[in-house]
Amino acid sequence: MVEAQNVGFHAGKRDLIAGISARFAPGQLHLIIGANGAGKSTLVKVLSRLLKPAGGHVLYDGHDIAKASERDLARRRAVLSQAIEVAFPLTVREVVMMGRYPHFATRPSAHDVAIVTEVMDFFEVTEMGERSYPTLSGGEKQRVNFARVLAQVWQPLSGQHRILFLDEPLTFLDIRHQIDFMKKVRSTVIGGDMVVIGVVHDLNLAARFADRLLLLNQGRMLAEGTSADVLTPENIRTAFGIEPVVTTAPGGGTHLIFD
């Protein structure tokens, strides 16, 4: 369980987020939506402790993370960001192995190597293992990084939930890779012990794949719940300034059409 208690963060005098309280349960996919500048990425950065909140607390399984050590945090919490570029010829295998860095001192154990092999198979990147990361396409890079991030929190922990953040993971992916990615996320998280919190832009993708949505507007929480609860014409109008037509997708979920 991840819990935000009245968290806020400001840059200079401007509040990027303020007064946000929310609980994120394991085994479900939580997606944060909102317009540009609504504070989605800031919230993820505060929840993952890249940024320290200016006010309020972030709790993992009931414990405030403000004082947790970097290494302890890295063993249970992983973050996938958008488009990671590297100017050096690192191999794909070495990039995935970085996910295990919080778990070993200088040399990876046989166990670390086994996890990397397993994760690379799962994401179908084994064949490009010896290729140089900068030569990959955008979709391939994202798959490699997803493999790296899952290698970091691959094993269930006793007494703690694992936590995965996805900070705009779909940027620069074409539609097929976006759908593939979201399916992969769902197949990894559903019903498990992992808390998964992501940021996406496409409201229809969010409606289709999320268990819970959290809608931000100007740094504050506007609505929270299932897609039917959150994606109402009124909420969309307030948060995005655009008029939607709410219909039903072929599968039965909410689908928005914009004029």
Partner: protein
């Protein structure tokens, strides 16, 4: 399989270094035949002072110079690897954060003021002035870069501040050589081009100790530097304290580069091209790259010193001219082969 190929490459690089150093000891203004190299080295190891002039040239000039070259080259190679990993940018030199230009300014100041202040007799004053200059300039870069951004120096801020502070110290050096009288001006020019001619056993002991300790300390941070290559945020998510890592790596770089520069002057391009060539051979893993750049940096500088001594013999070229003449074409060809992310 991978580890054994890396080990094989390191052994090959070490063998190349040994051969280069042997050639560098053998050839010069005077060539020493192999049997004389052996007998003189044996004499040094036994603690005897040779009685012939040739023997003294060998033990007091040639041998310490060859060994100093290895350590200075190693420090430049390791410094280049550290700075390129830290700045996530393959076109960075170890002097980027002000270390070399600050050291050069300190030395130039010594040449101009040393006579007036009567400190030129003390054997330590030149290295001390250079080392102080390097540390002060780097400290300035760090303080300025941190002052803007709520106490955290971003990599881009460090890079740009480094460029500005370098320009400041270079113009200071220009001013000092402009006002200097002739012999002092020549010293400044010679020192700014780099020279191994001041080598002695004391320099070997100091540079050797600092370089060895610095290289070993860097190895302890190789894994964290790897993580930093994929980004500051990503490294943080992988459990790296990025701010602490930056300060430690900058401190190691200043120590090894300022001390080496203090004894030999500014030697350019070694720190830039050594990590490049090694990455082409075996990738960018810093655990390999740090060791390899120590070995290969020493090798390249030994080669350059050999060329500097034999190209116009019995006259000697400043070694910085050799490294630039060889380094610039290599650098340009690297730029054409790869596209860089800035």
């Amino acid at each position: 399989m991978n580890a054994s190929r890396t080990a094989g490459l390191l052994i090959a690089l070490a063998a190349l270094m040994v051969l280069t150093v042997l050639a560098s000891i053998r050839f010069g203004a005077i060539d020493f035949p192999l049997h004389q190299m052996w007998s003189s080295t044996a004499a040094v190891l036994a603690g005897r002072t040779p009685d012939t002039l040739d023997g003294r040239i060998f033990t007091e000039l040639r041998l310490p110079r060859a060994i100093l070259c290895v350590f200075v080259g190693a420090s430049l190679g390791v410094g280049g690897t550290l700075m390129q990993a830290l700045f996530r940018n393959p076109i960075v030199e170890p002097g980027l954060v002000g270390t070399s230009s600050g050291a050069a300014f300190g030395a130039s100041l010594y040449f101009v003021l040393g006579t007036a202040l009567h400190v030129e007799q003390a054997p330590w004053s030149l290295p001390a002035a250079a080392c102080a200059g390097g540390v002060i300039a780097t400290r300035m870069v760090l303080a300025l870069a941190e002052s803007g951004n709520d106490g955290r120096a971003s990599i881009v801020m460090l890079l740009l501040t480094g460029l500005a502070v370098n320009a400041l110290f270079l113009s200071g050096i220009g001013f000092l050589s402009y006002i200097a009288r002739d012999p002092q001006a020549r010293s400044i020019i010679f020192w700014n081009l780099g020279t191994m001619s001041g080598a002695n056993w004391r320099a070997v002991a100091i540079v050797g100790t600092v370089t060895t300790l610095g290289t070993l300390a860097s190895l302890a941070y190789a894994k964290q530097l790897n993580a930093l290559m994929i980004g500051e945020e990503e490294a943080t998510y992988l459990g790296v304290n990025v701010r602490r890592l930056k300060l430690i790596v900058l401190a190691i770089n200043v120590a090894i580069v300022a001390v080496a520069t203090a004894f030999t002057g500014v030697i350019s391009f070694v720190g830039l091209i050594v990590p490049h060539i090694l990455r082409m051979l075996r990738g960018a893993d810093n655990r390999y790259l740090i060791i390899a750049s120590a070995i290969f940096g020493g090798t390249l500088l030994s080669m350059a010193d050999l060329i500097a001594r034999v190209a116009l013999r019995p006259a000697e070229l400043p070694i910085g001219i050799v490294t630039s003449v060889v380094g610039v074409p290599v650098f340009l060809s690297l730029l054409r082969r790869r596209q860089y992310v800035f």
